[in-house]
């Protein structure tokens, strides 16, 4: 039986938490949903089937999926190195991982232009990164970089390296050990990291707007489309796309969770 008699402090705490969650999480969602369907379902349907809107959504999803693949692979490697290896500058690298969380994406976008732009140091870089979707991808990878790493790191640290060593002595190769011992252990963390990466990537605006230049049909992502639609008084388009992005993010979460359950059952 749980303690039922809350103290006054306890009640206050609970109130603060509920108000906090309500104001910050539920109220905006409710406002978004009610605004989207203010004039019924039709404007929503029209807005999200608009080819221009779909194009931006497609770009956003492409960026998010590719960024997630990159960050899943690189994130595992970085987390691995940070946990399992000792080297000069490890502390610095570990600190740098959080940089994308604290630095303004717009600034990073601008720095990228300074670097890869017409007069930048890296202007002869073989891939055109300034004002291209490749540049948007690089920045999307950047802003969503910490999630996989920070999810996996504590799990790797917590499991220690003895399980891997045990596998080695039992004859498993390093690669086999990774797939059969380490991967199953970090799978949940990795999945969650990927979900966060996808969500963060889908939602990124500032960095991709700056680096991409927001050219319609080529470097306009869904979030840039939302911003432009608001400015153009295309409220139906803006709200519908925002809602759609939210729904996609939630669907990703659900699908990932389902995959996890199936995996365990089999």
């Amino acid at each position: 039986m749980k303690e039922r008699n809350l103290s006054l402090g306890g009640i206050l705490l609970l109130l603060v938490v509920l108000i906090y969650a309500g104001v910050l999480l539920l109220a905006p969602v409710a406002a978004l949903v009610s605004n989207t369907f203010k004039d019924g379902f039709e404007p929503f349907w029209k807005a999200i089937t608009d080819p221009e809107a779909l194009n931006t959504l497609w770009l956003s999803m492409r960026l998010a999926v590719l960024a997630s693949i990159f960050n899943a692979l690189l994130g595992v490697m970085v987390a691995w190195v940070l946990v399992r290896h000792n080297f000069f500058g490890k502390g610095l690298l570990n600190a740098l991982v959080d940089l994308p969380l604290v630095i303004s994406p717009v600034i990073v976008g601008y720095v990228m232009i300074v670097l890869f732009g017409r007069t930048g140091w890296l202007k002869d870089f073989p891939i055109k990164l300034a004002f291209s979707w490749e540049g948007m991808l690089v920045l999307t990878v950047f802003v969503s970089l910490p999630f996989v790493i920070r999810e996996i790191q504590p799990v790797l640290a917590g499991m220690g390296k003895e399980q891997e060593e045990a596998a080695y002595t039992l004859g498993a190769s390093p690669w086999g050990t990774f797939w059969r011992i380490v991967f199953p252990a970090i799978r949940h963390a990795l999945t969650y990291g990927i979900v966060l990466t996808l969500a963060r990537s889908l939602g990124e605006f500032g960095a991709v707007a700056v680096i991409g230049g927001g050219t319609q049909g080529s470097t306009e992502s869904a979030t840039i489309y939302i911003y432009r639609s608001l400015n153009d008084r295309n409220y139906a388009g803006a709200y519908s796309m925002a809602l759609l992005l939210g729904v996609i993010a939630i669907l990703i979460l659900i699908i990932m969770n389902n995959l996890r359950v199936h995996k365990r059952g089999g």
């Binding site: 003895e162 060593e165 045990a166 080695y168 002595t169 039992l170 498993a172 252990a185």
Partner: protein, 353 residues
């Protein structure tokens, strides 16, 4: 020769953790590496398993030079202190992991898993996950997993360290009987001398990366070769002495030298005797054993089956530790403050430090 280490050295930067260790272990032997924490004993185990690379020396297992082989090719079974079972696999999957890696056919694999489950008396637990087992059960599974591929050598790194004192004894007996039944060569690392005595065919004493000496438990306890072994393996009374002619001189006192100590002739030595070799009688009574000196009883403490008596030696003030049976103590009416005569039944000579 099952395990052969020749002048093995391991350094981390400037720190030598294993220093020129040579060792030979016979087939079927249970060898215990005993030493304080940080002495390098676990590193020796890891060097044998190939989990750590060495800086110098040579390691052979069953006559096969494995010095530069990766852990996968050394045919060792390793039991880690925290068992390190694969958390997402069942007990059976854990035990069968190595067999699966070696592509042993499923039917054969299944039979072997069942055999090992029976060996560790956990036949009902094959489908459990490690998280559903007690510490002792996990430890047994770890042993079974390490044994699954009939390794050349079983390496156990403090396998009882994380367990309750109560179940340790039981598990030690299990391990000992499994090891003898399979006649597998094993090295067990521990810092617990009681555990070492209970399990070991032979013990190697490790301190500061150096293998100080090797011997049977009895040898090392009664006739240690050096000061560290003497004090690490239980309480020891140690006195500076000198061997001259056929006698040992301790201060004013002299005692006939034991046989086979001619090597110390004319040298300063340390005289060592365990507390249970000490005899204490009232001043008036007849002493049984060599007379060592006189003193005053400082304290008498209950120590289970025996009483621990501390006697302050006259006139040096040094303390002698004695273990005597409560019966004798009562019979003699020993009390703190009593003046007593002190005798020694058996003693041993050590080189001075």
């Amino acid at each position: 020769m099952s395990i052969y280490l020749h002048q093995v050295t391991k350094q981390y930067e400037d720190n030598t953790v294993v220093d020129d260790v040579s060792l030979e272990i016979e087939q079927g032997e249970l060898f215990v590496l005993l030493g304080p924490s940080g002495s390098g004993k676990s590193t020796i185990l890891r060097l044998i398993a190939g989990l750590t690379t060495l800086n110098a020396g040579k390691i052979s297992l069953n006559g096969r030079d494995v010095t530069h082989l990766p852990p996968q090719k050394r045919h060792t079974g390793f039991v880690f202190q925290n068992y390190s079972l694969f958390q997402h696999m069942t007990v059976a999957q854990n035990i069968g992991f190595g067999l699966e890696i070696q592509k042993v056919p499923p039917a054969q694999r299944k039979a072997r898993i069942e055999e090992l489950l029976a060996l560790i008396e956990m036949s009902e637990y094959g489908n459990r996950l490690p998280s559903q087992l007690s510490g002792g059960q996990q430890q047994r599974v770890a042993v079974a997993r390490a044994l699954a591929q009939n390794p050349d050598v079983l390496l156990l790194d403090e396998p009882f360290g994380a367990l309750d004192v109560k179940i340790r004894g039981q598990l030690r007996q299990n391990l000992r009987s499994i090891q003898k039944r399979l006649n597998v060569t094993a090295i067990l690392v521990t810092h617990d001398q009681e555990e070492a005595f209970e399990l070991a065919d032979r013990i190697g004493i490790i301190d500061k990366g150096r293998l100080l000496e090797i011997g049977t438990p009895d040898q090392l306890y009664r006739k240690p070769g050096n000061h560290f072994t003497a004090t690490f393996l239980g309480n020891a009374n140690l006195f500076n002495a000198h061997r001259n002619g056929t006698m040992i001189y301790i201060g004013e006192n002299r005692i006939p030298a034991p046989p086979n100590t001619e090597a110390f002739a004319g040298k300063s030595v340390q005289m060592m005797f365990r507390p249970e070799e000490v005899v204490i009688v009232p001043q008036s009574a007849q002493l049984n054993g060599y007379f060592f000196g006189e003193g005053i009883i400082e304290s008498i403490a209950f120590a289970g089956a025996l009483e621990r008596v501390a006697v302050k030696l006259n006139p040096s003030g040094e303390i002698i530790q004695a273990l005597i049976s409560p019966d004798i103590s009562r019979e003699l009416g020993l009390r703190p403050g009593d003046a007593v005569k002190i005798g020694v039944k058996n003693f041993h000579l050590l080189p001075t430090e």
